[in-house]
Symmetry: C2
Subunit: 161 residues, 2 copies
């Protein structure tokens, strides 16, 4: 398939994947910006440490897209892959990057407008489900920005993907 073909789609499947991976590159830099200890202990206002939020993002992305790609439904399990160190977390992140590319390639074009019960629990269209995954990552990453700022650390630029 010639991916340079002209389209009048709002956004193509390949563009949406690259958009998400761009956000994921930024989230990776936010993980890197945290000191090891603060990643797992620092919090504000009774919220979770940023490491726990990243764990949630890891629990959603690949298992969620596996289901979109036609694999059996899995329950949402945030405890599935626990990384106890920053290096371990970054390694899981990079693995997920590769897996996402792989499963995304198996999503048929007509899939995005179909209905899905994500993780057997959350109803929506496939596109709205994927947008939810991305939006949820932006949301929690932004909370990590505030954590970093209050730690006196400069977060990476939001526009730099």
């Amino acid at each position: 398939m010639d991916t340079r073909v002209k389209t009048t789609e709002v956004i193509t499947s390949a563009q949406l994947l690259e958009h998400w991976q761009g956000h994921r590159r930024l989230t990776r830099r936010v993980i890197e910006a945290f000191p090891e200890q603060e990643l797992y202990t620092y919090s504000l206002g009774g919220m979770r440490p940023f490491g726990d939020m990243v764990q949630e993002l890891l629990a959603i992305a690949v298992p969620g897209i596996r289901q979109v790609a036609g694999e059996p439904v899995e329950e949402l399990n945030e405890q599935l892959e626990q990384a106890k160190t920053k290096a371990g977390m970054l390694a899981l992140w990079d693995e997920a990057t590769t897996e996402l590319d792989r499963y995304w390639g198996q999503i048929p074009q007509e899939r995005f407008q179909e209905r899905i019960l994500a993780f057997g629990e959350y109803e929506g269209t496939v596109w709205s489900t994927i947008f939810y995954f991305i939006d949820n990552e932006i949301h929690h990453r932004a909370q990590g920005y505030v954590y970093l700022r209050t730690l006196g650390l400069e977060p990476p630029q939001f526009w730099d993907r």
Copy 2:
């Protein structure tokens, strides 16, 4: 045009607008959740008060989409419409909601894949520019969530649009 027509697009123009307006309804509830004074004064880590961030979102949304819809390029001007009260800010927000719907209806389908220099300054495709506007809103709103939490206030649910 029959908007119920079957499509294999990842997301249609109408769906993207409704997705954004859903996020904007949530942002509106976050503005409402702030006490009047804290909206304009409270901050963490040297960041701006949430009211200033909302001012930025207002400066971007309608002027940005006006340009997308074919109106003359405007410079980004965050001082343009200043609301000094929460009620005034919510009124500007609601005006923008109507304006967004209006200008969005003037965007031709083939526009989303065209190149644009948003505000005469930021280069990208039309779709990536619109996604940037939405993502930037999610990003700053999430920072408002942390402000609310540290003020001992419960933010609205993220999934409730």
